[in-house]
């Protein structure tokens, strides 16, 4: 029985190659989209789960209560890890580490700026990356030692054995390679190329050596002996700040390592999601696309039901039960979805490299992984069942007498279901179109929104080696750069132009309410800062060599507004207890998120903490030759360091990565959804045209033109698409409204995206239907009529 049904299913598919192609194609695209999205979702889901005790591992967060609101940070004091390990029961390991920074590491002529982390010995016990060489129990304890990842070791040493060889860090410290660990996988939240002992950081940095409980700067990881200690440990952590520092406004708490990546947004000290929202969107998208492909199949099968009806009638007349008919149709659809899956494989293999580039991931089809196969198989069966369910029940319900007598099945009921399905497809497609359009509008809006300074043609180069903390050398650098003619202005800044961080509660001013804690960004800038970056001074002046500016500050508009100064120039404020005079007010400009208002900022003058040189390129000069000249100047100071220059506007663009990704994905998968829907429409149009062959013939004989008949055939479909749009528009409005409301700066929702969606879907439907029916319409009416 099964074999015969199988054979017949194959013959059926072969006989109707066109429909098979449409069905398999649609299912293949649907399945491939679904699988790629699921791979991505799975990849995101697997974040930080590669460690053997990840379930018992927690990241310590810091809830800081300010008068304005409760802020949650991942930065914790350097003293915390030891305190936890020693005083809190139930702890297996506690480690502190810095956040990765690009630092110079070299071996002979091999010099790289790679991600470095300073960490305790416990760090590698908690995050147990595979040890390729060396002893896990002995690493990161000696002052002059380093642990390399495999990739880093290869780059530095090539095929040589790196163990016990020497490398140079920042061109000053000589370190012995103690161990080599496996490369950090892409789905780890902690990313680094080499690890350095904490002791080295303390040796280099006096502030950190003497740091107290008020300085939050490192990542604290905790591994419990058992998860039953979670409650008690968390209770202990809550008061840990207050026990160690009088008047602290912070509380620490633990967040599971496995949730670090996906649930990283906190509101009022409670996790409220994060990337998980995006993952959910992708998950829903994956299944909707698959569903659309299934709907195609349902539509075409039921549309073709009249052809199958006779077979159903005969089978029933010779003794088939309904159950066996249902199983036969199910078999056909499962077979079809298997064929679709085969094609989907090809599609996936072709498109994965592209998506990997897009998503910054390393997704691969793991052919040896049973999980992959089980997901794949269940997805295929699921698709087959969903797609086959309606046709199977519908077709098997035919009464043999009626269908065998000749045709008059009540087409109306099935037709309305078919219409509903087409409408459903187009609702989804139109929604996606609207969303895509709005995402792009928002992106463009934010990109074009003035950032408060002129970021084009602005270059920043990190200060390193001899240039660090040496005002005389910096001055020399500035002079030499200007002399080349490649740049017109040069200044220095204590952070990258697009970097967040360096914020403090330590600003006081006259009229500040006693319990008011406000977070200020603090920066330090060199002379000519305003001129170089192309912003403006609203009042007063900027730092200049003509004055002694060591006790002067600039503030931005936001700060003026917050402090409520009528006459800010000449007023004074206290930063960390030291008194400063305000000499200028500068325009707000974007450093952190372009979606939010600029935070209040104080800028003081301290050449000792500058980290980058900012230069405006000479617009009259060729960029590549200018860049070369600039490189030469930097090399003359630091021959051993790569220059590592960046264009400010390119760094700025990275702030949109998430939205850009969402836009691109919505574009792609929206395109797929539309394409699959069109395939369905195509098949349906073809079918209708053939079904109405006789009617068309008669109409033509009566004198209808081709255009008349095309209009007739198109009318029904256009109606459906219009209804779909009618449903889709409010739906899409709700979705984009919700999405946009997360942004402080956002486009207002206009008619345009909706118009685009309606127009596009109508045009696409029109073209599809016309292209499909024109062949039938143009045929000679005599051919259609003579068989009657």
């Amino acid at each position: 029985m099964f074999r015969l049904n199988f054979k017949i299913a194959l013959r059926n598919l072969w006989k109707n190659k066109g429909y098979t192609l449409i069905n398999v194609g649609g299912l293949a695209i649907g399945l491939a989209s679904c699988m790629i999205l699921l791979l991505y979702v799975g990849y995101k889901w697997s974040y930080d789960k590669q460690f053997s005790n990840y379930e018992k591992t927690y990241v310590v967060y810091n809830n800081a209560f300010t008068s304005a609101k409760l802020e949650t940070w991942i930065w914790t004091p350097g003293l915390m890890a030891r305190e936890i390990k020693e005083k809190v029961p139930g702890i297996a390991y506690a480690s502190r580490s810095t956040f990765p920074e690009q630092r110079l590491i070299s071996h002979g002529q091999q010099r790289f700026k790679s991600a470095a982390i300073f960490a305790d010995a416990a760090f590698l016990k908690i995050l147990d990356f595979k040890m390729i060489r060396g002893n896990r129990d002995k690493v990161l304890q000696e002052l002059n030692s380093v642990v390399l990842t495999e990739g880093m070791a290869k780059r530095l040493f090539g095929m040589e054995d790196p163990i016990n060889k020497m490398v140079k860090f920042e061109n000053t410290e000589v370190l012995k390679v103690e161990a080599v660990i496996a490369d950090v996988p892409g789905n780890s939240s902690v990313q680094f190329d080499y690890l350095l002992p904490w002791a080295l950081l303390e040796k280099q940095n006096q502030i950190i050596r003497n740091s107290n409980w008020g300085m939050n700067f490192c990542l604290t990881l905790v591994q419990l002996k058992d998860n039953r200690f979670f409650g008690s440990v968390n209770q202990q952590l809550k008061g840990i700040y207050k026990r160690n520092e009088q008047g602290s406004n912070s509380e620490a708490f633990m967040h599971p390592l496995s949730k670090w990546h996906l649930y990283s947004t906190f509101e009022n000290g409670v996790s409220v999601g994060g990337k998980i929202d995006q993952i959910r969107i992708f998950f829903i998208l994956a299944f909707c696309i698959l569903l659309i492909a299934c709907v195609n199949f349902m539509n075409l099968s039921t549309a073709r039901s009249e052809k199958r009806a006779k077979e159903v009638g005969v089978r029933k007349a010779i003794g088939s039960s309904r159950k066996s008919l249902i199983s036969q149709f199910m078999l056909e659809s499962v077979l079809l979805s298997f064929l679709g899956m085969l094609v989907a494989f090809v599609l996936m293999e072709i498109s994965l490299p592209y998506f990997n580039g897009l998503l910054h991931t390393t997704l691969v089809i793991e052919y040896q992984n049973w999980k992959f196969w089980s997901v794949l198989l269940s997805l295929t069966f699921f698709t087959g069942f969903i797609a086959g369910s309606y046709p199977a029940f519908y077709l098997s319900s035919f009464e043999p007498v009626k269908v065998l007598k000749g045709f008059n099945i009540a087409v109306n009921s099935s037709l309305s279901v078919r219409k509903v399905l087409v409408v459903f497809q187009f609702v989804f497609a139109a929604c996606l179109m609207v969303c895509t359009a709005v995402i792009y509008q928002q992106l463009n809006y934010i990109k074009d929104k003035p950032v408060g300074y002129n970021k084009a043609g602005l270059m920043e180069v990190p200060l390193q080696g001899v240039l660090l903390k040496d005002p005389a050398k910096m001055q020399l650098l500035k002079e030499r750069l200007l002399k080349t003619g490649a740049v017109t202005e040069v200044t220095f800044f204590s952070k990258g132009m697009n970097e967040e961080g360096d914020a403090t509660f330590g600003v006081e001013w006259a009229g500040k309410k006693p319990k008011e804690d406000v977070l200020f960004n603090y920066r330090s800038s060199g002379y000519d800062f305003v001129k170089t970056i192309g912003t403006s001074v609203l009042a007063g002046r900027e730092f200049s060599a003509q004055f002694n500016d060591s006790a002067k500050v600039l503030i931005n508009e936001a700060a003026v507004k917050l402090m409520g100064f009528r006459q800010p120039i000449g007023a004074s404020l206290k930063l960390w207890g030291k008194s400063f005079t305000i000499i200028g007010v500068i325009k707000d400009f974007v450093m952190a998120s372009p979606y939010q208002r600029a935070a209040p900022m104080v800028v003081y003058y301290d050449m000792g903490i500058m980290t980058s040189a900012v230069a405006r390129l000479n617009p009259a000069q060729n960029v590549s030759s200018s860049v070369q000249k600039i490189d030469e100047v930097f090399k003359s100071f630091n021959p051993d360091f790569p220059v590592d220059r960046k264009f400010v506007d390119e760094v700025f663009k990275q702030k949109f990565d998430d939205e850009q990704l969402l836009g691109t994905l919505a574009n792609w998968f929206g395109g797929f959804a539309i394409f699959i829907s069109c395939l369905g429409l195509l098949g349906l149009a073809l079918f209708t045209a053939e079904q109405r062959k006789k009617e068309i013939g008669i109409r033509k004989v009566l004198g209808a033109s081709t255009a008349n008949i095309l209009a007739l055939l198109n009318k029904d479909f256009i109606k459906l698409v219009l209804i779909a749009n009618l449903i889709a528009c409010p739906l899409a409005y709700v979705v984009v409204y919700k999405w946009l409301s997360a942004y402080e700066f956002r486009v207002s929702i206009s008619v345009l995206p909706f118009a685009i969606a309606i127009f596009l879907s109508l045009i696409i439907a029109l073209i599809t239907v016309t292209a499909q029916s024109v062949r039938v319409v143009k045929s000679n009416p005599v051919d259609a009529l003579k068989y009657e």
Partner: protein
């Protein structure tokens, strides 16, 4: 074998009942060869469909081999006709996607006959109908007469006790029609299979042993052919 009592069939359309069959009562014994005749619209096919359990009467009692068909549930009914009834249609109604052999085999599949037995029965029937050479052809590769032969072979393979034929020769030319009727007669006489056919043709009806004349849903005449002769 078959007892019909007061069978009625009507369709209600906007309160108006349009009758197809009225007060049809008859009984058919094992081994009879009955022809149902009458003009178009007389209700012949409906009667045949009711006999074949493809349709239910609106009213009346139908006993098939002592069982009350009307009160049977669907599963039992399917069971009953799987085992006892073979259908032959005017338009042959072979399944286009199946070969001749597969078409013949299909009813056996539904009866859950074992594979070996199926093979031997199909081979047997093919042999009997001289169609061994055509067993791998598809229906559209056969002539009408051959297709109808396959149709009959398919009805016979399940070894039914009764064959219901709805104008079996309606689409055929007369030499082929004759051949089919001869076949029916032979089956009836040699294997004692009850045959009920709907026909327009007096010639075809003459092959049978009994004629039911239907007019406007009412049995007008019930002739035994021996009487006629």
């Amino acid at each position: 074998m078959i007892e019909l009592k007061n069978i009625e069939k009507y369709y209600a359309n906007k309160g108006v009942k349009s009758y197809i069959l009225r007060h049809v009562s008859t009984s058919i014994k094992q081994g009879e060869f009955v022809s149902i005749m009458g003009p178009s619209g007389a209700g012949k096919s409906t009667l045949l469909n009711i006999l074949g359990m493809l349709e239910e009467p609106t009213y009346g009692a139908y006993e098939f081999m002592g069982e009350d068909v009307v009160s049977l549930n669907e599963r039992k009914r399917i069971e009953l006709y799987r085992n006892h009834i073979g259908f032959v249609f005017q338009a042959y109604h072979l399944i286009d996607e199946m070969t001749v052999a597969e078409n013949i085999e299909a009813p056996l599949l539904y009866k859950k006959v074992s594979s070996a037995e199926r093979k031997s029965r199909v081979a047997d029937v093919l042999d009997r109908f001289n169609m061994v050479a055509k067993k791998d052809l598809f229906p559209n590769q056969l002539s009408g007469g051959q297709q109808q032969l396959v149709g009959i072979a398919r009805a016979l393979v399940a070894q039914p006790s009764i064959i219901l034929a709805d104008e079996p020769t309606g689409n055929l030319q007369s030499p082929q029609a004759l051949q089919i009727m001869e076949l029916f007669k032979k089956l009836n006489e040699e294997e004692n299979i009850t045959i009920i056919q709907v026909t327009h043709s007096e010639v075809n009806a003459a092959y049978g042993s009994r004629i039911l004349h239907l007019l406007d849903g009412v049995i007008k005449e019930d002739l035994s052919l021996q009487q006629v002769i």
